[in-house]
């Protein structure tokens, strides 16, 4: 079901299939549109293909067939280098297990994507400090991730994802490794970001997270879209 106007489309997935080896497709003929500023939750049981779908949107993986267009760019036919540049310009990613680099300080972790796009160190530092302050973890800027709690680490990951002002935030089970209270805090943080206009796609198997923090839920079962466009 098309729920967006063409001019507002940020992500357009058209008849995408992703198959590993000779087994059943992880994602099977999925078509989906996500609008600018929308927060979409992709739900489904374990192994349903939701993380694979997120990877396809992020350009971390390539579809076996079909097209993936993000912000008007056909990413399924980009080279690896172009994909990397696409990711660092347009995408911010948050992972279930944070994926922070243990040997970099919090500040260096957050600054890294900005430095990869060529932002001068001083400006990257200002932007990272500002984000850490907004996310209330500025006091940990010189700490290493291993010394932080799960919630603090996820805040660092969110700051890192936002440092380049991406058009799209992708979150793969962002509260999956957190206790419920911290998960709620992170959920609120994401909702706040969406309210300020940040488009995001959340992959979760938590109906609570989906219903509370996403404006629309897409349910994937066995690699296929079971329901799409359910607005919360």
């Amino acid at each position: 079901m098309d729920v967006t106007r063409v001019a507002d489309v940020l992500i357009e997935i058209s008849n995408v299939t992703k198959q590993y080896g000779g087994g059943a497709p992880a994602v099977d003929r999925v078509s989906l549109q996500i609008a600018q500023g929308e927060a979409v939750a992709v739900m489904g049981p374990s192994g349903s293909g939701k993380s694979t779908l997120l990877n396809l949107i992020a350009g971390l993986d390539r579809p076996t067939s079909g097209t993936v267009t993000v912000a008007g760019e056909r990413i399924d036919r980009l080279s690896e280098t172009a994909l990397a540049r696409f990711r660092r310009r347009r995408i911010g990613m948050i992972f279930q297990f944070f994926n922070l680099l243990d040997d970099l300080t919090v500040l260096d972790n957050v600054m890294l994507p900005a430095q990869l796009v060529g932002t001068p160190r001083r400006r990257a530092l200002t932007r990272a400090t500002e984000l850490l302050s907004v996310l209330k973890i500025e006091q940990h800027r010189q700490a290493y991730p291993a010394r932080l709690s799960g919630g603090e680490r996820q805040r660092v990951a969110i700051a890192r994802a936002l440092v380049n002002d991406p058009e799209l935030l992708l979150a793969d089970e962002p509260t999956g490794a957190l206790d419920s209270r911290t998960g709620h805090e992170i959920g609120e943080l994401l909702r706040g970001l969406n309210k300020s206009g940040q488009a995001m796609v959340l992959v979760t198997h938590s109906p609570d997270l989906a219903s509370h923090y996403a404006s629309r839920t897409v349910e994937i079962v066995d690699g296929q879209v079971a329901t799409a466009g359910v607005r919360s």
Partner: protein, 778 residues
């Protein structure tokens, strides 16, 4: 067991590469170890002594004045208590010969009915022994490497220019006397016909003594023989040490190179093999933990790893031995011809011991970490199989992040600090590789100079012109003809006439060879050890042996006697001229010129840069006509072999060092697969990932380069010195620092090249890995 081995080792790209690395490292290190050990054993194990024992070499070749002693008196000397064996008397004569108009030189020819005997059992290397007059057997090394146009294959004819009637002889065999008792042999009946009309008949006796370990002992023994004979019967003698010194000659020069490379190669082998094999086990710890958790015993795990590592290692060792033998062959075959041994080959025990030692090394390198891992509990093994300990390298990351460099570069530069132990091994590998390159290039320059120095012992200049007839000196018309031809020949840069008289030197009982040049001869290119080339009358340059024998130094004066005329000269320089004979170089005027009887013996020519000496020689040969001969000199085959051997050993060490880096970086990328996935997810391009991984090795490579420069200079300097000692000469100080600081700095960057080459492959693999898969890695 196969299933257990497969389960323990695992599969996949990394394992296949590690197998390939183990195979290649063992192939290269076993080959270099076999080559180095074989050359060491053959060279330092006394090939001369072996040949000497096999051929019953003479401890002393004693010249006899036959007019003063009877055969009975000579035979009686064999019963002296000092003498264990004696042979002779053999009649000998000094003869000059030419072949096809080209001078072949002067040799001592001996009359011998058969090659064998109780002393100096001459080895026939080709053809047969002379059985009738008109036949001659020549020493295998006669004219070898001299570059003259004389070659004496079996069946060729030589004309004896110093004997009445210029008899012609057919070469029927080639042979070698380990003690250089003669340079050619004929049947005894032939010898009187070969003697110059004015020459006195002389014989030689060959002795083996009870005690002849030193030159002093031989001198004492010969003194007993002399005392047992009538006065004046003994005309002189040559101890075996002289023959040994000449035979060892060029081969001894290479020994220090080989020793240095052998030590470096073996040390690097130990380091890399330990690193590679140990790394395989350590990187498999997590898997070991998993296997133990499902029921494998520690012994099964250990055995499985040893089996997995052992297969490529054994294959590499076996092929390495074959390769090592192939590499050693050219040098050994040259050595065999020098020593007069039919064949020299890699000693069988080297072929057995080297691969066994390498396999044992692999076994120990694998056993220690495998046993340690197998003793860990399953949980511990899984835990220690993860990424490096937390906290290591954090400071480096923090500090390097502030550098104004691209972030992938600073992250890469900081990475080695996370694994200091592994980084140290990588640094050592690059250090060995870089040192080997610096050392080899420096020594190659030194060896080139040594080759040039040895060349000057054969004939100064690149081309020489000599008389082709019976007279060893130029007539006036021949001089004019030679000068006209040389002057007209395109490509002539300089030429000078040379006389080669012998002169008496105060303090020396035997006359000394002198080269007197009629004109400026500075361009001949003799390397100066100390002092300077003579610049006026009354000045001479001498070689190291001259100074050693006379006890004089540069700056001293001495008296020369030439044709009954005494003159005082000042020694102004010591030239590099590796020889066991003293030599004096000076101007034509210093020795009195034509008025003192000096005659032109040859013209020395140096060519313009870029002119082919062979092409020049062809042109000049046509212009000179049949009455004048010519010699064209090039560096000997031995130096070509030595240079290529050094190049090969260097390449192997560099390749092994590169493989060591590859393995270390591979382990690093394997450990950090997940982090690499994160970097890529954050937008690091494949090229940036490759650059980051290559930068992992930059700091160790730079450190290695800094250490390698003084290490290579020290090693190179001491090796050259050892080389010079082996050749019995001093060497110019400039040789030990043949490379300028800029050259050294640039060459030291070879460490970066080795490191980058080793890191590039794993870096590229890391860049190509699928991000989504990498992010799932633990």
């Amino acid at each position: 067991m196969r299933a257990v081995t497969r389960a323990a080792a695992g599969r996949g790209m990394t394992r296949r590469v590690q197998k390939a690395v183990i195979f290649l490292v063992l192939l290269a290190t076993t080959a270099s170890a076999t080559t180095a050990l074989a050359l060491l054993v053959v060279d330092t194990g006394g090939p001369f002594q072996q040949a000497f024992a096999a051929q019953h070499g003479a401890d002393a070749v004693v010249g006899i004045n036959v007019s003063r002693a009877t055969e009975q008196q000579l035979a009686a000397t064999s019963r002296l208590p000092e003498v264990t064996s004696a042979a002779g008397p053999f009649q000998v004569a000094s003869m000059s010969f030419d072949q096809g108009g080209y001078p072949g030189g002067t040799v001592t020819v001996a009359g011998r009915a058969a090659p064998g005997g109780p002393v100096d059992d001459v080895t026939l290397t080709a053809g047969r022994w002379a059985t009738r007059p008109g036949e001659i057997v020549i020493a295998t090394d006669l004219g070898q490497g001299s570059g003259t146009q004389v070659s004496l294959p079996i069946g060729s004819k030589v004309t004896v220019t110093t004997a009445p009637g210029h008899p012609q002889l057919t070469v029927v065999g080639q042979a070698l006397s380990v003690t250089d008792s003669a340079g050619a042999w004929v049947v005894p009946a032939e010898l009187p016909a070969l003697q110059a009309a004015t020459a006195h008949q002389s014989d030689e006796m060959l002795y083996q003594f009870r005690a002849a370990g030193s030159a002093q002992q031989v001198r004492a023994d010969v003194a007993k023989v002399t005392a047992a004979l009538p006065a004046g019967a003994v005309a002189g003698y040559a101890p075996w040490q002289t023959a040994a010194s000449e035979a060892n000659g060029n081969s001894s020069i290479i020994a220090p190179f080989v020793i240095a490379f052998a030590i470096m190669g073996l040390a690097l082998s130990v380091l890399i093999v330990t690193n590679v094999v140990g790394g395989v086990v350590v990187s498999g710890r997590r898997r070991i933990g998993v296997l133990k958790s499902i029921g494998l015993t520690p012994r099964q795990v250990t055995t499985a790893y040893l089996t997995w590592v052992g297969r490529p290692a054994v294959a590499g060792c076996l092929l390495g031995v074959v390769l090592g033998n192939l590499l050693a062959m050219p040098v050994l075959s040259h050595s065999a011809s020098v020593y007069g041994v039919a064949h020299q080959f890699v000693p069988p025990w080297v072929d057995v011991v080297t691969p066994l030692a390498m396999c044992a090394l692999v076994g120990i390198a694998a056993l220690v970490p495998a046993v340690r891992a197998s003793r860990l509990s399953a949980v511990q093994a899984i835990a220690t199989g993860q990424a490096p300990s937390q906290g290591r390298g954090y400071t480096a990351h923090r500090l390097l992040a502030r550098l104004p460099l691209p972030r992938p570069v600073t992250i890469g530069l900081a990475a080695p600090f996370a694994r200091p132990g592994r980084t140290a091994v990588m640094l050592a590998a690059i250090l060995f590789g870089t040192t080997a390159v610096l050392f080899a290039v420096g020594l190659d320059a030194g060896l080139g100079k040594a080759a040039a120095g040895v060349q000057t012992t054969k004939g100064p200049g690149q081309v020489t012109v000599q008389t082709g007839g019976n007279n060893p000196v130029f007539t006036g018309s021949q001089q004019r003809q030679a000068i006209a031809a040389i002057s007209a020949q395109l490509g002539t840069a300089h030429y000078v006439a040379q006389a080669s008289p012998t002169v008496g030197v105060s303090g020396l009982t035997r006359e000394v060879n002198a080269d007197a040049f009629d004109g400026n001869a500075t361009w001949l290119g003799f390397d100066m050890v100390t002092g300077h080339w003579y610049s006026g009358p009354g000045q001479v340059d001498v070689n190291t042996v001259f100074l050693t024998q006379t006890g004089l130094s540069v700056g001293d004066t001495t008296s020369l006697t030439d044709g009954g005329t005494n003159s005082t000269v000042k020694i102004v320089g010591e030239v590099y001229f590796p020889s066991n004979q003293p030599l004096l170089l000076t101007s034509w005027q210093t020795l009195g010129g034509a008025a003192a009887g000096l005659t032109v013996g040859q013209y020395d020519i140096v060519l313009k840069p870029g002119v082919s000496s062979q092409a020049y020689g062809n042109g000049l040969g046509n212009a000179l006509g049949p009455n004048l001969g010519m010699g064209i000199y090039g560096s000997g085959q031995f130096f070509t072999i030595a240079t290529s051997l050094i190049g090969t050993l260097t390449l192997m060490i560099a390749v092994v060092a590169g493989l060591g880096v590859l393995n270390t970086v591979l382990l690093g990328t394997r450990e950090r697969t997940h982090d690499l996935g994160v970097f890529k997810a954050l937008g690091m391009t494949p090229r940036e990932v490759t650059a980051m991984v290559v930068c992992w090795v930059a700091a160790p490579a730079l450190a290695a380069a800094v250490i390698a420069i003084p290490a290579a200079r020290t090693l190179g300097g001491s090796t050259l010195q050892a080389m010079a000692n082996a050749a019995g000469t001093a060497i110019p100080a400039s040789w030990t620092h043949a490379l300028s600081p800029v050259d050294l700095g640039l060459l030291a960057l070879s460490g970066l090249v080795i490191a980058a080459a080793g890191a590039l492959l794993p870096g590229t693999w890391a860049a190509r890995s699928r991000t989504a898969t990498a992010l799932r890695a633990e």
